[in-house]
Symmetry: C2
Subunit: 295 residues, 2 copies
Amino acid sequence: MTPVEAVNGRTYLDNTRKLVDELLEKYLPSEKTEPQSLHIAMRYSVMAGGKRIRPVLAIAAYEYCGGDSRKAATTVHPAMAALEIVHTYSLIHDDLPCMDDDDLRRGRPTCHRKFGEAMAVLAGDALHVIAFRLMAGTGSIDAVIELAEAVGTSGMLGGQVADLEAEGINASRKDVINIHSRKTGALIRGSVRIGALLAGADEATLDRLTAYGEKVGLAFQIIDDILDIKGNQETLGKKTGSDSKKHKATYPGVVSLQQARQDAAALIDEALGVFEDYDDSILKYIARYIGQREN
Amino acid sequence: MTPVEAVNGRTYLDNTRKLVDELLEKYLPSEKTEPQSLHIAMRYSVMAGGKRIRPVLAIAAYEYCGGDSRKAATTVHPAMAALEIVHTYSLIHDDLPCMDDDDLRRGRPTCHRKFGEAMAVLAGDALHVIAFRLMAGTGSIDAVIELAEAVGTSGMLGGQVADLEAEGINASRKDVINIHSRKTGALIRGSVRIGALLAGADEATLDRLTAYGEKVGLAFQIIDDILDIKGNQETLGKKTGSDSKKHKATYPGVVSLQQARQDAAALIDEALGVFEDYDDSILKYIARYIGQREN
């Protein structure tokens, strides 16, 4: 990317992340609202930061498809919060002792380490509902259905099950792509599609952006696997090397690390391929950012 | 009730329960759909039977409000399945070792006893999503919002937290009413309201049925508490006496058993009070049935 693109893109990411934090602050029940203990646990996990890539993709897609900025506050904004919130619910449940049994997330103790298992189960459940409540607030049944499909048994939850069942088994490259496409890819793809749907995108644009979402979604998880091997625990805010310790099916585990890097780069190129060369889209910047991220 | 009412009501209940089972069979992914292990666990819990009182209330309210029977298959039917499914998700998570730690539900091992904790967490999550997917399938954003409010932190989940936090504490009658109204009452009230909303009920009717739903919802849980003390384990399909063993806040625990029976009966009378005497409604039969149930 050109230096100008890089600067504009970085500013866009920074500003959008601030917006995401404001939206989450606004839409999550306050710590003083009953039941306080539950709302404190929910906020603890959601407000712990993170890359906020799903809401960023949703609004970038909304804008790319010509979504009305005057309607953003009642359409794509609640959707952005819903996407980050549903992602956080999945992390909380994924971290539970009976699942991945993780102690650290985003540089802090995981929800169940901080508040106990019962509260973590309930906080995840409560975030799950709030996500649907917010998505319904957009007034778009299509967006609600899209969210449900993305996180349901043919999407994210199906991927989580396949991920658990692949532990300790000799998975193939095809198996890992299948797991990653659902576990992480489906919600990333869904985020792009929801932004486009709320903007009233035509079929052809929706199809192109769906392909984009699939490619960056899979690339995102391959790079997550690479960072779990090569990344810095401090930058990542979670323990590295944990995939291998748990005998998880990872992409670099079935091809070489170098091949994994090449395949991620190829996926990013394919994602960029859905745009015309002159198309100066923030979605192009985000694809490159995902390809180069270090946390 | 007159003998004729009782026979008609009993037939209505039996037929509607059959319909509910058919709808659940139709809407839940089959055991042969990937991920099979997850779908098997989901079906195990949903198809274990139960009183199906929430979908029964939804369709009875739909019919009471003059809902079009020709549109039932695309409106109230998916809503009925959604209500039973969301209820089942809450039972699965409630039964987890970190929550109520129950071994028996509807006469069978609980989901985590049968399939393990990780699968039970995921099966609950997956049923939670499917409920929203089905409710969105009605095309009514209002119904989706109603479901989210009923099971969210100001409804069912708030009640679950309060219930956990009240264990071993000297709760007052007011505390218990507060817990029961949210933990059980909110979804029962929501079921009645969703049926009415899908039928296009006017404000006044919706208000009356909301009051009805609140009364029968609270009565339902008070009778649950009574049955936990006096009921027969075989008829109930779950262990009796478990509330007291866990030092749960129960209604008969804060007033006498006799007073609890009287208060439940009074609530049923109040629920019946929203109807005119000549109003020959199945909702009246269901209120009486809830007041007299033995499982």
